[in-house]
């Protein structure tokens, strides 16, 4: 069968995104959740018009394809994603391009440059940390450390309620709070 000539194909856009999550997310779960988010927010008709497809995904970053005239809707659907299989996630859209190559080159291959320099080089390689927030000490187990960001699991049970309220598993901290 002959493929459709380029002039007759629908025009597309490629959205590069990064994903921060509490735990590792598999590609299949993310696709399911994106489709579900689209179906609940804009319905089947809207989803079909958007033509959203997850092209590449490597646990942290990826590319979503969508119709060129439905970029804002696709953004909205991607933003309405809050959790995948009870793991909190957040999608940050890095940029939009007309080709996969440009999206990859301009948004995905750039190194993660955190503009805040580590002026105080404090190491948090310990298993346990103590933080001071508003003159209150919070101590807990370090779950993950990445650049300046630290996720901790607080020890004392009084914080459990706060975690439940916020719908997260860990407290988000930075090395500056140490």
């Amino acid at each position: 069968m002959k493929i459709l000539p380029p002039t007759l194909r629908e025009s597309k856009r490629y959205i590069a995104f990064s994903l921060s999550s509490e735990d590792e997310i598999s590609r299949r779960d993310l696709v399911n959740e994106l489709n579900f988010a689209g179906a609940t927010l804009v319905g089947d008709v809207g989803s079909s018009e958007m033509g959203m497809r997850l092209l590449a995904f490597n646990e942290r970053r990826g590319i979503v394809q969508c119709a060129a005239n439905k970029v804002w809707e696709t953004r909205g659907v991607m933003a309405s994603l809050s959790s995948v299989k009870n793991v909190r996630v957040r999608m940050k859209i890095l940029g939009i391009s007309g080709t996969v190559r440009a999206a990859t080159k301009n948004y995905l291959l750039i190194k993660d440059i955190k503009q805040v320099e580590l002026e105080k080089k404090r190491t948090a390689e310990l298993d346990k940390c103590e933080f001071f927030i508003a003159n209150r000490a919070i101590s807990g187990k370090v779950i993950r450390k990445e650049n300046n960001e630290i996720d901790i699991l607080p020890e004392s049970p009084q914080y459990e309620e706060k975690l439940n309220n916020s719908g997260t598993r860990y407290f988000g901290m930075t090395v500056f709070d140490l």
């Binding site: 933003a79 940050k92 859209i93």
Partner: protein, 237 residues
């Protein structure tokens, strides 16, 4: 898209750690990373209020941090009392609405800056409240966490109410703000994502952009300008 690139975006309702899960420094870093020009850290409890010098971060030239209080009360008499007590303490006073009496009391109180999540229980504002809010300069908040966190019936209710609020806000030119009402850094969304979500409510792109940039900027300026004495009275130089 040049207009969006030039705008400075603000998110005026973000809850940091003593109440919720996310240290102020983390929220500031994440918000800055997403493209905001400033945020307002609001606490529920007035004893937990943060000030910029409390946050252990190197100073940023291009990022503004404001402090706010979200007052959550049940009774109207207490609301007035709390507003008068806390007005001088924080930059921005936000009322956690939803209840019809509280919505009305805050729309009629000129000292209130923002009426947050007025449609939380799925009940929209009415023409009387919209008119009062416009007269007193109280901004009506469209909280996007309702769209992000909820699914199904409850989201439909909130969306319907928000649509009604938008219609009233347009008719009576009530200032509109879009906030994330974030309780952790997973709830934060970039300015354009917030605009995209707001456009699902029927806002135009310009309205959404103003609700994230121009209106919050006006609220901040009104509260931090030392030359301003009260509504319509300013020290001229």
């Amino acid at each position: 898209m040049g207009v969006i690139k030039q705008s400075r975006f603000y998110d005026l309702n973000i809850h940091p750690l003593p109440d919720c899960a996310g240290s102020p420094a983390r929220l500031v870093l994440e918000a800055r990373d997403m493209g905001y020009s400033g945020i307002c850290l609001t606490s529920f409890n007035s004893d937990n209020t943060f000030f910029e010098h409390d946050i252990p971060l190197p100073p940023f030239n291009d990022f503004e941090i404001y402090t706010g209080i979200e007052i959550q009360v049940e009774r109207v008499a207490k609301l007035t009392k709390e507003v008068n007590r806390l007005r001088g303490r924080a930059d921005i006073i936000i009322i956690g609405g939803g209840n019809e009496d509280i919505n009305r009391a805050s729309a009629e109180n000129g000292k209130v800056d923002i009426l947050a999540h007025p449609a939380a229980h799925g009940k929209p504002l009415n023409h009387v409240l919209a008119k009062a809010a416009a007269d007193n300069g109280v901004a009506v908040d469209f909280n996007m966490d309702a769209l992000i966190m909820q699914r199904g019936g409850s989201r439909i209710k909130v969306l319907t109410a928000m649509r009604q609020n938008l219609m009233l806000a347009r008719k009576y030119t009530v200032p509109m703000v879009i906030t994330s009402n974030a309780r952790s850094h997973y709830d934060l969304r970039g300015p354009r994502e917030m605009m995209a979500l707001a456009m699902f409510l029927g806002m135009t792109q310009d309205e959404a952009r103003n609700a994230l940039s121009k209106v919050p900027k006006g609220i901040i300026k009104r509260n931090t300008d030392s030359n301003r004495i009260m509504e319509g009275v300013e020290v001229a130089k």
